[in-house]
Point group: C2
Amino acid sequence: MKISINRQYFIEQLNHCLKAISPRTTLPILNGIKMEVKEESLVLTGSDSEISIEITIPTEIDNEEILEIEEPGTVVLSGRFFVDIIKKLSGDFVALETNDQFQTKITASQSEFNLSGNDPDQYPLLPEVNDEESVVLPSAVLKTIITQTNFAVSLSETRPVLTGINWQFSEDGIKFTATDSHRLALRKLQGEQFNMENMNAIIPGKSLTELNKIITDSDEEVEIHFSQNQVLFSYGNMRFISRLLEGNYPDTSRLFPENYETKVTVKNSEFYHAIDRVSLLAREGGNNVIRMTVENGSVALSSNSPEVGTVHEAINTGKVEGEDLKISFNSKYMMDALKAINDDEVSIEFFGTMRPFTLEAAESDEVVQLILPIRTY
Amino acid sequence: MKISINRQYFIEQLNHCLKAISPRTTLPILNGIKMEVKEESLVLTGSDSEISIEITIPTEIDNEEILEIEEPGTVVLSGRFFVDIIKKLSGDFVALETNDQFQTKITASQSEFNLSGNDPDQYPLLPEVNDEESVVLPSAVLKTIITQTNFAVSLSETRPVLTGINWQFSEDGIKFTATDSHRLALRKLQGEQFNMENMNAIIPGKSLTELNKIITDSDEEVEIHFSQNQVLFSYGNMRFISRLLEGNYPDTSRLFPENYETKVTVKNSEFYHAIDRVSLLAREGGNNVIRMTVENGSVALSSNSPEVGTVHEAINTGKVEGEDLKISFNSKYMMDALKAINDDEVSIEFFGTMRPFTLEAAESDEVVQLILPIRTY
């Protein structure tokens, strides 16, 4: 292969590709980026066998030449190191030329690198994903969905299905669920157009974290295709493929209680910062447990740590309905849940000291966050 | 004690104080910040017994009330944790009140913290530094001096004096020297006014690193006082005290050779970036050694790493005097030295393949950097 490519554009695409590359891969060739020069394009591939990212670079973008192809060919070059070189070179364009032994010459300005490359035949084939049926979301919507659920996936491999987000399709739309069994995040997306034959898939949280770093907060469409074991996100010049988690996701629909005993409506940001302050002491005491008291229509937060001290916060702007309450919970879970609710006002419904409580936006049930309390006495 | 203090101003001063506090202190009370409320001021002290920082906060700054004192008194409060609380509170002012058992109530807006404090009588006394004789430098000059030398101090405790910077006073001015025995940084400050009776002191590199984070790039004066074992930097409302290193600093004056065999003059930034690129491969190969070749009036850099590849850089804008040369050196030392030379053009003088070489600005000998080459064949 022999090409010349716009250096800044190349760096951006390589950085996307790097997101699929893990330094802890068991297959050494997966440390590399595969570069396949065709007649009219350059295809970059990075993969850690869980996630694969494939980017197609055309010769022109908006009538501006990005890529000049003198000779097609394919090579695999050591990922991070290769990207570091391209970044540190000077000049607008960089030239790449590979010989029969995959030795690759990189030249720009007064610099010349000669790198050992790898045989692309040793690079694993990407999984194929059936392109027939798909659901389409604007990338900004997909970003919000990931942000509102992904934090709640389990970090433990004890129950592997809980490390993923459950996408559950029905006639009403899609339900996205994540839980680590201490708290649960549920996002609903209404709309008949999202029905995909009652598909039910579990996408690894890690894959969605990486996808979220690449897609932008815009109207650009993401086409999502599912096969038996894989999901493909097709976005601009990029194909992002992740394996799906096998197994059955637990039925979480019964977890949501009805008929609250106590309901508190608070200003999201004010409540968040109060929790943040009270949790300072909870953290110093070695755990994140703080206490909330609802009494005579007023709400207070407190925490104490025997060696360090005590803290007390009065919540002024709350509206209280129902019975008095004393409840303890993990402050981190509460802060995560508040961040995931895109609204100035949050309603928290309690069903007694020992039962899970729920958070929703005051005006919408698009997002429901559920948290298990902690028994402290 | 009982005070109310401007929260933002308090945070800034506490952050300065924290720079003296090490989490690895052997004396637990040194994890805390000592707060001494006098009739007209609040004095904050932080110390790790190597460095001590004392900050005096007045009641008013530019006719604006910063501090309101209701009752003097003294307490020691756990450092980082206390500062975190002050940062996360809301409101412009925060109130502090300490009782006889050093229990301290912190209130702002709807928040109330009650922290266990410590008896200030258990806090060690700061070393006394004789204030009589001093040298005065603008803080911007002191910052430059630290930046141009401090990187070259030794990180190993094998020869403790080499972990500090030698300040050598004479009738001509001050010489600042740092060396880890592989490279040396020398900065000269000319001027009779800097003569302090041929004083010779070794200030720990770590202390100067912390000082450098606090002082700003301005004309504000820093008064520097030396005692037998301590140095005091007096800067605005702050007293920064560091212990001095004991022992004799090696005589480095004989290290500087005369009559170069080869002299190369290069553009600083261009040469720096070329070294940076070539060192990418040197680093990948497990060391930082790169080779420089001067031949027929042209300069080139190269490096190779058997598994990875080779790199070659031609340096275009150099001026060459003297003999041809092949020399190898640590690229990191070279990059550190180039950064320390505040000039677009740098002269490098070589005295043969196996002898130390020197870098200076083309137009000034205020800074001299010396590097030992590496034998590679």
